[in-house]
């Protein structure tokens, strides 16, 4: 029997098939948002000893039910919050628990404001009727204040932004030896400006 030559497959409809698949994936795609503000909630059991915080070491931020912002009992615009928080945290007008002054602070050393970043507490209180978006905006500004100070110190010590360093540190793709090199740096900056953000339970009215 004579061998018949194999006919060539017509590839003209390949584009159609590919289009079909393309349109299916186009329609079903949802690009997930997978970033946000990381926060740690306080544990439920209160610490055994009540810590007494001096008034000068406390920055009280209250959001009322009309989404207005009160910083130390004064009505403040959201855009001024970051500056106020930075000024408060970076004040460094005194000594920490070990009796050391804050030698890296660049604040005004105001005797009415915080003594040391390690002692400075920001207290955030909101109402049950506060809108979530306002709360997130305030949280964002407070985190931004910490990040601004941490970036400044990180740039001074390691010529690198803290946020960048932290992202690299928590990235699973970073090789282990680089992570071990980053760990003391991240911890040192975090110790310089620890994030002490206390969230009181909301007021009922």
């Amino acid at each position: 029997m004579a061998r018949r030559s194999i006919p060539e497959v017509n590839a003209g409809s390949m584009a159609d098939i590919a289009f079909l698949l393309l349109i299916f994936f186009l329609v079903t795609t949802t690009i997930e948002t997978d970033s946000g503000l990381d926060r740690k909630l306080p544990p439920l059991e209160p610490p055994d000893t009540d810590v007494i915080i001096k008034e000068r070491n406390l920055l009280q931020v209250v959001i009322n039910k009309n989404n207005q912002l009160l910083v130390k009992d004064e009505l403040t615009e959201l855009k001024d919050l970051r500056k106020a928080a930075v000024a408060f945290l970076d004040n460094g007008g005194g000594l920490n628990d070990k009796g050391e002054p804050c030698d890296y602070c660049q604040g005004a050393k105001d005797p009415k404001s915080s003594v040391h970043p390690e002692k400075a507490v920001i207290s955030l209180q909101n109402d049950r009727e506060t809108k979530y978006s306002t709360y997130i905006a305030v949280q964002n500004e407070l985190v931004a204040a910490y990040n601004e100070l941490r970036n400044r110190e990180s740039q001074r010590l390691y010529k690198m932004d803290f946020t960048e360093m932290q992202a690299l540190f928590s990235d699973p793709k970073t090789p282990d030896e680089q992570r071990e090199k980053l760990r003391p740096r991240v911890e040192r900056i975090q110790k310089m400006y620890p994030q002490i953000l206390s969230e009181a339970e909301p007021k009922k009215n």
Binding site: T29, T33, S35, G36, D38, D127, K131, I136, N140, Q166
Partner: protein, 160 residues
């Protein structure tokens, strides 16, 4: 100079479509790789607030999602327009959050359990009361790592 005189030919040559499949395939592969299949069908409105100091969420196997917001228009007649919590595929009350977290935690691999993060995907119009209730529940079961999932952008746009 006859060499340079063009052959007069009125017809335009047809555009070759031979590379069309290649282009389409390229697009196809792009969408295939960026697609993530949705785990949950959203039953609540979910416009996330905006923030710019964000950190990337951990890997998916150690994250538990909690959605909250006003019920979607389809469910309004049945569930009303008060903001609700959604766990997995159904609406839930505040006191169901703690058992849900514990159940999800038990499903995780042992070594990942301490790393568990709770991602709160909450609509920006929600009142803080509901979120405080959720947070209170999370504290009860010691799930202290939370992530307020947000969109990337200027935070000032939240208060418009």
């Amino acid at each position: 100079m006859a060499k340079f005189t063009k052959k007069k030919n009125g017809e335009l040559p047809a555009v070759s479509t031979a590379s069309l499949p290649d282009i389409v395939f390229m697009l196809l592969f792009f969408f295939m790789t960026v697609t993530t299949m949705k785990d949950d069908t959203l039953m609540v409105d979910n416009t996330l607030p905006i923030a710019d100091q964000t950190q990337k969420l951990d890997k998916k196997d150690r994250v538990v999602y909690i959605y909250a917001g006003k019920p979607h228009e389809r469910y309004r007649s049945k569930y009303g327009s008060q903001a609700r919590i959604q766990l997995n595929d159904k609406f839930a009350d505040v006191d169901e959050v703690a058992p849900y977290i514990l159940a999800e935690k038990a499903k995780m691999r042992q070594e990942l359990q301490p790393l568990m993060t709770t991602a709160l995907k909450v609509d920006k119009e929600t009142n803080m009361g509901l979120i405080s209730d959720i947070k209170q529940e999370l504290r009860k079961v010691n799930a202290l790592k939370v992530n307020y999932t947000t969109k990337e952008g200027d935070a000032m746009r939240n208060i418009e």
